[in-house]
Assembly symmetry: C2
């Protein structure tokens, strides 16, 4: 490694340290930034200047540097220039959102579409249109997109989806099908990160994404746990009953067969959403509120199965709390109680505390938000990423 | 924080960096240590001097510093002074070992004893005797014990065992019952670390400890995954059949009820080990080798149940490989095949590769070794720990 390259990577690292501190502690004076980061005031001032030029921070107002310091101007993140695009492909909808550097949501759009009956190329073509709409709206607000992440409902291995059984996709390389540079990550992982960054979850939790498939993302100490190959958190295929109904994953008796959206609608006597359009859950909610026995019984059983799978998950992964998201958010009132009862019966002898079940405030938006948030966090950690992009 | 304290903690950190580098790259010259750590040659020489004085490294032989350098002496870890004591309480045995700074095992002893019929005080009194024997043998070899860790068969929360169902222990504060300063950790966690440090496992694996209870420890990127409260890896209580036999943990149909040592011996028609003495597994092995149908059938069923629980574990935790240890090591030939078959049937549609099942070389010794190794790794990371201890 040459001396010049070393110097450059150290500069990049320091720029990330400064911007990270602005994010954490801003509005903050240059003098305080120098004090906290251990960099010289001259270096900090040069970097703040660069960050202002690239539209990532603004300087405004006046803050006092401690008791005796002179008043100085305050540096804070700017939401007016750099933004990120989050996209989501789910089984029965597509969605997009643009989030600025301050994590404020600037535009958001979704489209109900049955991706089970569409080819990957068709689905990606729809997603491209939705993405373009979001980008156009962001640009009209003066924003530039620093990067894109796509959330997909299946395990992702280096951009490749080996199998997303609920979509019927096999060996699909998602970024190759989109006409803009993008990274891909699992929907449940991104939903957990969305909950961490945009929701009200603490730093230790398991976020459960209830959709047609059920996934989960474990956050420990504010970091996502991914496992050895990035495939962790497939809660939907945890075995509830070993000789239960066959699952699209090739297994039997998986949680999805009891508590997935389709299974739940079927058990509730709703034919499933026609054409995959998400009309089924609102109708289920109406019938639950009306006190119809069959939907209530279906939620009771789904909740019990969820409780069994979560018991195994708690024993293996030891999450702090458990946040129920996706369709489990609107269904929380009916699903959570039997799940909690099942977990308490099975876990409370061995553990002082059984993890609490809470409801996600983000529901179905968590993954799309997490996808955009992931880009923002990477840009803040390495502002050169964006600068390189912007100078093109 | 005062300037002096800051300086001191930086010195402690640097000493750990130097010793860590000696461990990783030794034998190594002082000049190479300075080059790698970025510390001055003077600082490195002073630190190496201190480390020699405290018996943690030795200097010997001659190494050449690169092509043109002058030959210098080589610094390497010394196994002659600093050592660690590892202890294990299991349901039907106690064991102890002493490991030196180079991770060489210097003494090892075990005792079959039924801890289910003994009180915690009685068990700890037996352990104290065993520990004293090991310490005496180590001291006779000129070693000093820098620290002790105790492995226990249950989840540990800050030294407290809330419940170890297989021992019948509740709210036991283990270190309070031992007459030497010791830390406590879960047996399955320490067995995984033992496998990492003393076995032949790679950096990403799930180590399964098959004993009367079944635990697991997940290592990702060379680090143990502990979860939010340090209670992760309780594979033995993953639900195999939700309405299966009642388990001591308060649940039903847990893996231990199908593949734990007692359950397996019962299913094989062996009355269980009399008085808890581990005579049962050797007899089971004899009968398996003789081809007796009932023991073979018992292993087939236990292996299938293990395969179901591991399917859930793979979906949730995504381990690299799976290492079967404890009594599953001698039983590997009969247990692994049905487990592998079950996992392949359930996992191979969704995953490119199903994690390989391998056998632990350490078997029942893994936890005791991991307990001692944990102390050694802490001493190497912070050599002052030992120096403070030694100067008392």
């Amino acid at each position: 490694m040459t001396q010049a390259l070393r110097h450059d990577s150290m500069r990049a690292r320091n720029l990330g340290v400064v911007l990270g501190e602005v994010r954490k502690s801003g509005p903050i004076s240059r003098a305080a930034l120098a004090e906290i980061t251990g960099l010289t005031k001259t270096t900090v001032s040069k970097m703040v200047g660069d960050l202002i030029d690239s539209g990532m921070v603004t300087e405004s107002g006046a803050v006092r540097d401690g008791e005796r310091g002179r008043p100085g101007t305050a540096v804070e993140l700017s939401g007016e220039r750099v933004a990120a695009l989050g996209l989501e492909i789910n089984v029965d909808y597509l969605s997009a959102c643009v989030v600025d550097l301050t994590l404020r949501v600037r535009t958001r759009c979704a489209q109900a579409v049955d991706n089970r009956t569409a080819s990957p190329v068709e689905t990606m073509s729809h997603l491209q249109e939705l993405a373009q709409k979001a980008v156009d709206e962001a640009q009209a607000q003066g924003l530039f997109i620093a990067g894109t992440t796509i959330a997909v409902p299946g395990p992702v291995d280096g951009g490749l989806i080996h199998a997303a059984p609920n979509l019927g996709w096999h060996d699909v390389r998602v970024p190759d099908l989109l006409d803009l540079p993008a990274e891909v990550d699992n929907e449940a992982n991104l939903a957990a990160l969305g909950e961490l960054w945009f929701g009200s979850a603490p730093e230790d939790f398991l976020h459960v994404s209830g959709e047609i498939g059920i996934g989960a993302g474990l956050v420990v100490g504010g970091a996502l746990f991914r496992g050895a190959r990035g495939l962790a958190g497939e809660l939907g295929h945890v075995v509830v009953t070993p000789d239960g109904p066959a699952c699209r994953c090739g297994g039997r008796g998986c949680l999805e067969q009891y508590a997935g959206q389709d299974a739940l609608l079927r058990a509730a006597g709703l034919a499933g959403a026609p054409g995959g359009v998400p009309g089924g859950v609102p109708e289920l909610l109406e019938r639950l509120r009306a006190g119809e026995p069959r939907p209530l019984e279906a939620c009771e059983r789904a909740g019990q199965a969820l409780g069994v799978a979560l018991t195994s998950a708690v024993h293996l992964m030891d999450p702090g709390t458990i946040v129920l998201g996706g369709v489990f958010a609107p269904l929380f009132e009916w699903i959570a109680e039997p799940a909690r009862r099942t977990m308490t019966a099975r876990l409370s002898t061995m553990r002082h505390t059984v993890p609490e079940l809470t409801v996600s405030r983000l529901g179905g938006d968590a993954a799309t938000l997490g996808a955009a948030g992931r880009v923002i966090h990477r840009v803040i950690a390495d502002p050169y990423l964006w600068r390189r992009f912007a100078s093109r």
